[in-house]
Amino acid sequence: MMHSFLIYLIAMAGITYLIRMLPLVLVKKKIKNKYILSFLYYIPYAVLTVMTIPAIFYSTSYKLSAIVGFVIAFILAYINKSLVTVAALSCVGVFVTELLLKFV
């Protein structure tokens, strides 16, 4: 097991690093094209959004607790609270909701 695990490990770590490293090392010039620049500008927000919705609603034990967590995160982010505050209070919201669901 240990021997074959090492091969798996090297394969996946190697390919993951290459995927991250090659574009960062090869693209050295500043891109001038307005449309490519705009595309790259929107990419992070699009990627994060696609990763978050609808996955966030399935990230906890109950849909209801996830919805509570989402609403809390949405409101706190809207009033410009920091990343930690938003993430932490969202967790608290989920925790409290699940406590209520289980024991009330």
Binding site: L37, Y41, P54, A87
Partner: protein, 240 residues
Amino acid sequence: MREQTSFVKGIKDGLPICFGYLSISFAFGIYACANGLSILQAVVMSITNLTSAGQLASVPIIAAGGTIAELLISQIVINLRYALMSVSLSQKLGKSVRMLDRFVIAFANTDEVFAVASSQEGTVGRNYLYGLILTPPIGWTLGTLLGAAAGAVLPEILVSALGIAIYGMFIAIVMPKAKTERPTALCVGLSIVLSCLFYYIPVLRTIPSGFTIIICAVIASGVFAFLAPININGEAQNDA
């Protein structure tokens, strides 16, 4: 253009990622060991890969004794989004970032590190980036260790609550931009629609999630790059 060069600012921005990772990698640690990996294997995998979805996908393949080709293809599909992020990050690097730095930074260019680096005004310098990438790998590895070692002991309700942490962080990153720039808000809206289509339509659901992320993000960004190109200052224009 202004370059963000503060190491301390980098550390400050990296810490929330570090804490966020504690909870996700904690879940990964539990999952990996429940599927037959040893604590050491789970931890070593986290140190060397630093990728959530890729690592999660690898566990069943390794557990089933799958082929290396299968493992490689799954990793390429799931992690190809990093190539997109690395191209985007390459445009964000300040003058102080040298060639050797790029090799190091690339290793830690995760979704969250990329998102935080992208959200800085102007360009990002090497000191800032080294500060930013210092703590997340520690959180990622430590969380894996804790999850693998003590996962079974922790009450399920705590694990469940921690599961939402990373998404809360994502929302906190996207919201300030979406709130002030209408094209970005619309791009986010289109991303939501596409993502839900790929999630809820049975045929589209069979597409691996790594691909779904790339397809949806490329369409949404492509549409708005065309409809609402950014201005010279690198901001989306509200008149679009």
